[in-house]
């Protein structure tokens, strides 16, 4: 039985995740602006945007459109509720990697469902591109995590993070793998050069094309929480989590801001270039890494 208290902690976690990530993405906009020699908005601009969106009227495109959005939001919040963060484990014993992956997929498919139901062809193109890309970056990521799970003999995320604090971070054991995981993470966050499915001037922001007002506001909230989950997962699995909350947040910010700096200086690839890239470089590096890992740290048992 899960106690009510831990569900409270988990919901608090999701709220904290949203607040922190929305603030950070404002900092991200500021940094992007400074890189482009602009001043940029205030750091809390994204909060203003969300509250403005929630104050706007908008139209729906049928009940599947609404339902998909709710699934996306519920998926994002549900995933964040399970995410351990530097010793704070909201739902003890349930922070399994596979569970989180499946819940995160719920968010992605909710968004795809909603966008598809809007009936706009650009949304359909965006969803198609997004899902193609999703397979591209999920494959190497999954292979790497399965190797890690095999090595540490646990699929609990907090367990892997705790073991790394004793045995050293996984980044030291599999540097190539972490590079691949970072490329995948960059794609998951939808940063340039992998933002083909959002491309504002090409497919008019893809899946979001028919979202406006409150719908876009809720989508934005779901997106920020999903970003939190993706980065926390990376920090927990590859960078050793954190002994204290401060350490965890420091690593989190470093990863996120590195990704956003890279995004600010790169252009967008075309969709076939993205797919070709993902099926060549990360997968090749992953195979190499798995071979090296097996040689150095014992076979796959």
């Amino acid at each position: 039985m899960i106690a009510y208290q831990s569900i409270g902690t988990a919901l608090g976690m999701a709220l904290f995740a949203w607040l922190m990530q929305t603030g950070l993405s404002g900092v991200d906009r500021k940094i992007t602006a400074r890189i482009q020699k602009r001043r940029g908005p205030v750091w809390y601009q994204n909060f203003r945007d969300v509250f403005k969106l929630l104050n706007k009227r908008s139209v729906t495109h049928g009940w599947i459109f609404d339902l998909g959005l709710l699934i996306a939001l519920a998926g994002a919040i549900g995933t964040a509720m399970f995410m351990p963060m530097a010793g704070i484990i909201p739902l003890q014993g349930y922070d399994n990697f596979f569970m989180i992956t499946y819940l995160a997929a719920l968010g992605v498919f909710g968004r795809a469902l909603s966008a598809g139901a809007s009936g706009n062809p650009l949304a359909a193109i965006g969803v198609m591109r997004g899902l193609t890309q999703n397979i591209g970056y999920k494959l190497p990521y999954m292979v790497l995590v399965i190797v890690l799970i095999n090595y540490y003999k646990t699929s609990s995320i907090s367990g892997i993070a705790a073991l790394q604090q004793v045995q050293g971070w996984s980044v030291l054991k599999m540097p190539l793998g972490v590079l691949v995981a970072f490329i995948s993470l960059h794609g998951m966050l939808g940063k340039k050069p992998f933002d083909t499915y959002l491309a504002p001037s090409e497919v008019a922001s893809g899946p979001m094309v028919e979202f406006g007002g409150k719908y876009l506001g809720l989508l934005n909230i779901a997106h920020e929480i999903a970003v939190f989950v993706e980065i926390s997962l990376f920090v927990n699995l590859f960078l050793g989590g954190g002994a204290t909350l401060a350490e965890f947040l420091l690593k989190y910010m470093a990863v996120y801001l590195l990704s956003s700096c890279l995004g600010a200086v790169m252009g967008r690839l075309r969709v076939e270039q993205v797919v070709r890239f993902y099926y060549k470089v990360p997968i090749g590096l992953t195979i190499l890494q798995v071979l090296l890992f097996t040689l150095l740290y014992g076979g796959v048992s």
Binding site: R29, A33, Q36, K37, R38, R39, G40, P41, V42, Q45, R48, D49, F51, K52, N55, K56, R57, S58, V59, P200, S201, A204, S205, M208, V209, E210, F211, G212, G213, L216
Partner: protein
């Protein structure tokens, strides 16, 4: 024989009724709505997403306003990809017979509250195209314009100060063009139909 005093509980107790003051300070629903509206206006004014429908040559000044010299993201303004996401419609220059239909489509797709900013004299009275066969001279007959920016074409400084003025108008609740459009919808529709015949965009490639 002196009148027997009854115990106090038999007397009506008036003062107790009076000590309980009527809750005068309680916020009425209307006041609450007003306060909420003020908060909402702050957010609307400081997060303007725009849709630039580049009808005329004024549009060439917008890249300057967006990039590092003038940087309109300072004001919380961003270009957006679709009408559903946008708050302001920028009509950059003259509206012709063909573009007006698109403008009306776009404007009606945007979620309220929404604002229209018109650039240059072309949108006011036709400007240098006032006698061209396809140019509609007065934009505000067809769409409710909240702000005009002067100059043919307006310099980036003028555009920036125009945007600042728009923020001021929204924050003080004076930019109410969208309400006007809802209230006088028949009037606007009549003008639109007189000008363009029908507000329907034909699919030019498949008909």
């Amino acid at each position: 024989m002196p009148k027997k005093q009854l115990p106090s509980r038999f007397y009506p107790v008036k003062h107790e009724m009076q000590t309980v003051e009527a809750p005068a300070e309680k916020i009425s629903p209307q006041q609450r709505a007003e306060t909420w509206e003020k908060i909402a206006q702050y957010f609307r004014a400081n997060s303007l997403w725009m849709l630039n429908y580049c009808t005329g040559c004024c549009a060439i000044e917008l890249p300057l306003v967006m990039t590092s010299r003038f940087d309109m993201e300072r004001l919380g303004m961003m270009p957006m990809a679709t009408p559903r996401q946008a708050d302001i419609l920028l009509v950059t220059g003259y509206a012709s017979l063909k573009t007006l239909r698109r403008l009306i489509y776009t404007y009606e797709q945007m979620g309220t509250p929404k604002y229209v900013v018109a650039f240059g004299p072309c949108a006011v009275n036709g400007g240098i195209y006032h006698d061209a066969y396809a140019v509609l001279n007065r934009l505000d007959l067809y769409l409710p314009v909240d702000l005009y920016i002067a100059g043919c074409m307006p310099k980036p400084e003028a555009v920036m100060s125009g945007f600042m003025k728009l923020i001021e108008l929204i924050e003080s609740g004076k930019a109410t063009g969208w309400k006007d459009y809802e209230q006088r919808y028949e009037w606007y529709k009549k003008n639109q139909l007189e000008a363009v015949g029908e507000v329907f965009i034909h699919d030019e490639f498949h008909e």
